[in-house]
Symmetry: D2
Subunit: 337 residues, 4 copies
């Protein structure tokens, strides 16, 4: 059994990671930390029948684990990752702190200087469907953001095949459940403010995830700077749907488009392409760790890709465990299906 | 036009009161205060097209108004009410600070000593269907709580007719929308915690409103101490339904029960009794200022009364304006239908 | 008082129209029809305290009214409109039957031949902000669909100023509340299927409203055929938000874009443009008859317009009454604010 | 592996049962029927990645299975149960058809004569926490209704200990998610009618489950006829909470009450009693197969028991599989935790 610790277990992402790990056939939980709830049992925070003590971060016995999941907030994660790596522990970091390869870009978007720019080169961006080989080798995995996961999975087949029109905008209109905003109470997540409402925020090129997605698109040879991204908050607890509008450089038939997606993901255990005529909805992936994608052909130069994930599943904890499984040579779907 | 000020206009209750007053045919708004948002316009807090500046409480021009609505939190309201009364302004207080006639009881339930016990005798508990004559005369109106309004309207016909079995429990199982918990973000009102959940809290005889309801029942000659009250939080923004189970001292026929309710409220403009066979639901009163009641006869000694109000309507702001209308000799429904 | 009849009063749109008319200062309701609920009172269908008898369509006393609102389904509306026009009654038709000027196009999208192609030329498409002069004169008003209203209001300032890049796609990603799907129970509107889900449907160029929107864009000199439209069903009762992505033919500054919208709608009583930095949400218009629009500048050639309406308000009944008011020379906002 | 068939797999209960069985370590699915969707794959009805063909009931290969789960509607289940029993197949019937021991009572409440009164004596009512020994032996298991499960689990410790006041009413105020109303679209389950609403229905002693609960209470020596039961529909997909008010014949201390519950269920794998001070909420059991119970002491003679189950879990499919496990001598929690 691989020994695992979780930093930041009281938030939604940490709790979801912990929920997977405690039933994982090849992992065992050694510690779970929470600064805000240190000293409490997890069952005091969530209505679950199982008991896990929450310890302060400083008390985490790093020497006793093989790997840690860092579920701390952006900016706060860096220092813990550094300490864990110094202790020789393999790290899956669910924050944004090691996703951008450029420390300056990080500072621009997250407002603080990066504390370990040297580690940025070692970190591997963990979208297994794109980077599996590198995931296998790394000791520092940067787990992708939820929006980037849904959008990059939607674009990857077209990017790989170099089919996008480099001069045209890529438009990703994304809808997210509220758990993506975290468990800290704010007016933005107050029931009465969210319920019966649907609200765009940070639309255009102003959301932090634009940088992460643009980097991913550019690394695959696409026009990252052409991305327009509009997130919307929806009155749903869990789920994410990105409706992605793309223009192609050359004519593509409807069947060729469908085949491209079907073939790209045919061997992928955690991504599913729907047959022609079906559209991906949030329900396709809710409370799963899957990504589900549909392709809608409008004309030979334009497609709509609908990409569904659970923001806490394939968009966070599920993908983190998928990466963990790959890093440790386990069955990739262990604990996830 | 009657000149009106609102203390605490940025909370849900204050905002609802303000929304009624600005369309009220006989009232005009002179000021609206907010400590947390002083200096802002109301349109920065709520997505409304009209502009109302929010001033600090200390700057409220009491000399320029005829009446104030106090929508401040319990405990914080008292001192402002005292100042307003000293300025000769008529007060409708939506907090709990003047609802209990006994200052010791107030301290027991609200945890702070009452600052103006002498005013308690002057305050009139504003359930117009029960107290209309006294409402008309008062300068200090204690606007009832939402739960007490729904439960006391359900019980009043039986209390007035002295039909309750004084030895049997009165059981009020109440369900409330989330706006009743206020606009301050807490984990309890976080969308993800409330959504898809239904949770009892402070059940039995431990909720503060038990004291207020028991007082009302006792004043009408009933067994106030027999009240068992169970509030439940529901994933709904606005609304309240109390399902009230009563035992009768003597046999009552189904038609007599229905008639008792129909007749008691026949002349009431803001309370409606449903015909036999229909049950009151939250939808009956949502976004209205009405109370809607249904009577279900089980056997000659047992009834179920379903009592529906909007917690911000008849349960707070709507009833406050109804009381205001009575106090100033206006049409009782002005601004409310 | 203008005498009014409502055909199809038991559906959500008909009920909403009736709810406005009964409080309208210059209109009085003469009849309300329902085929499915003929003989019942409206209060048996909706939890309202007011009583309106529902009569069969065939019994509607057309000779006693000045105007009718037709809230019948597409295809079923035509024959009633013909009869009403023959009786000399002015018609506001909320169905799609008279929105498309081309009878062949109608047949293509709605699957039935048009029964009164001659009337299509007389019908005026009732978006007052675009067509007010023609609305004033018509006896047959085709009230726009909800999606077209939200999208055309978003595009109109750019179309009027001829700023759109005619070669680029116009992408409208729309999100709708469930009442837009009608009151007839289907699996698509079953609570358990809708709740906690968000689902695209008929995306690309396959939804009927594409024809209506393309016609409107083309009439204003824009590239109607370039419209890509993706509706999504959301777990919300009422509301609509369209996020519209446009490319411009020439450079436009951020302030010029904002000014264009602000000026276009400055004198409009039912459309509001938000100040720079605020984004339109569903909450801005919910349970109102307003349209609310925000402009987000991405770069000199690309904008995102967020356009919010209530699908039953400005998207249906509210706009119908706005058109009624114009047709009868009343205050345009009568009954609507 | 035990070979299993499912009758009525396309409804919510059947689908949930199938979802458990396909991951069950000791069961294998042989067939799944659906009359309304025969010939389709399950993935055409639900957004799942796995494929199960739906066959007509008449084609079900009874000879190839050891057990069947009957998830057919009340009234329709009887005939299939009879055929299955004649084929020697063990039956878990999730309908109400074999829950009442009295055929006349069945006819009174369900409106049709019972087709197999002789089988009623063979059927065992499958609340394992009460009837485990008899469950083990039976070939015809009547799986309890969701409301009866929640209420009987709440009452069982008091009934077993003979503590209830036989002269006092037992009041069960229950709140249910919408999936309990089935997947057939009706106005009652239309999203817009349910959302933002909470509605009582069939309250008092008029709901069919009253007969089932009264029978259970009486069999345990309690005053079944004293039960008052008020179900409420809530805007929640899955979940059930019963708030149960009881009067005791003799004084009971708070700790004795808590201990009674804790001890009664101490060895139960699927029922959990919360520690004093915590209240059962829907979230405690949602998407689980557990029952969770809290005890609130009001005074020595009155308690409130909150009893939470998932209406599709412990309230239907989960309990059916628990019974299946017991009948076949498997680990009782197999497939359920």
């Amino acid at each position: 059994m691989i020994k695992v610790g979780i930093f930041g277990a009281s938030g939604y992402t940490g709790f979801e990671t912990l929920s997977i790990i405690r039933k994982h056939p090849a992992a065992t939980l050694v510690f779970a930390t929470s600064e805000s709830s240190a000293g409490q049992m997890l069952s005091e925070l969530y209505p679950v029948p199982w008991e896990v003590p929450l310890t302060p971060l400083a008390d985490a016995p790093l020497a006793e684990v093989d790997a840690v999941f860092c579920c701390l907030p952006h900016g706060a994660s860096m220092s813990t990752v550094i300490v864990a790596r110094q202790a020789g522990v393999r790290v899956i970091d669910l924050s944004a702190d090691f996703r951008l390869v450029d420390a300056e870009l990080y500072q621009k978007w997250y407002g603080v200087p990066h504390e370990a720019p040297a580690l940025l080169n070692q970190a591997v961006y963990g979208l297994p469907e794109i980077n599996r080989a590198r995931v296998r080798e790394t000791d520092l995995l940067a787990n992708p953001g939820c929006y980037p996961t849904s959008v990059l999975l939607a674009l990857y087949p077209l990017l790989k095949a170099r089919l996008l029109d480099a001069a045209a905008p890529i438009i990703a209109d994304s809808k997210s459940g509220v758990s993506g905003a975290g468990r800290k109470p704010t007016l933005k997540t107050h029931f009465v403010e969210v319920n019966e409402n649907l609200s765009p925020y940070n639309i255009g090129q102003s959301h932090r995830h634009v940088a992460e997605m643009a980097q991913g698109i550019t690394q695959l040879g696409g026009p990252g700077h052409k991305l327009i991204f509009s997130p919307h908050l929806t009155p749903i607890s869990r789920g994410m749907l990105s409706t992605v509008y793309v223009s192609l450089a050359d004519d593509l038939s409807s069947s060729a488009a469908q085949n491209l997606y079907a073939e790209t993901y045919a061997a992928e255990p955690m991504v599913r392409v729907l047959p022609t005529g079906q559209l991906a909805t949030m329900a396709h992936t809710q409370r799963t760790h899957l990504g589900v994608i549909s392709v809608t052909w409008i004309n030979p130069r334009q497609l709509i890709i609908c990409s569904s994930i659970d923001n806490l599943g394939k968009g966070a904890a599920g993908q983190a465990v998928q990466n963990f499984n790959i890093m440790f040579g386990l069955e990739e779907t262990a604990g996830l299906l």
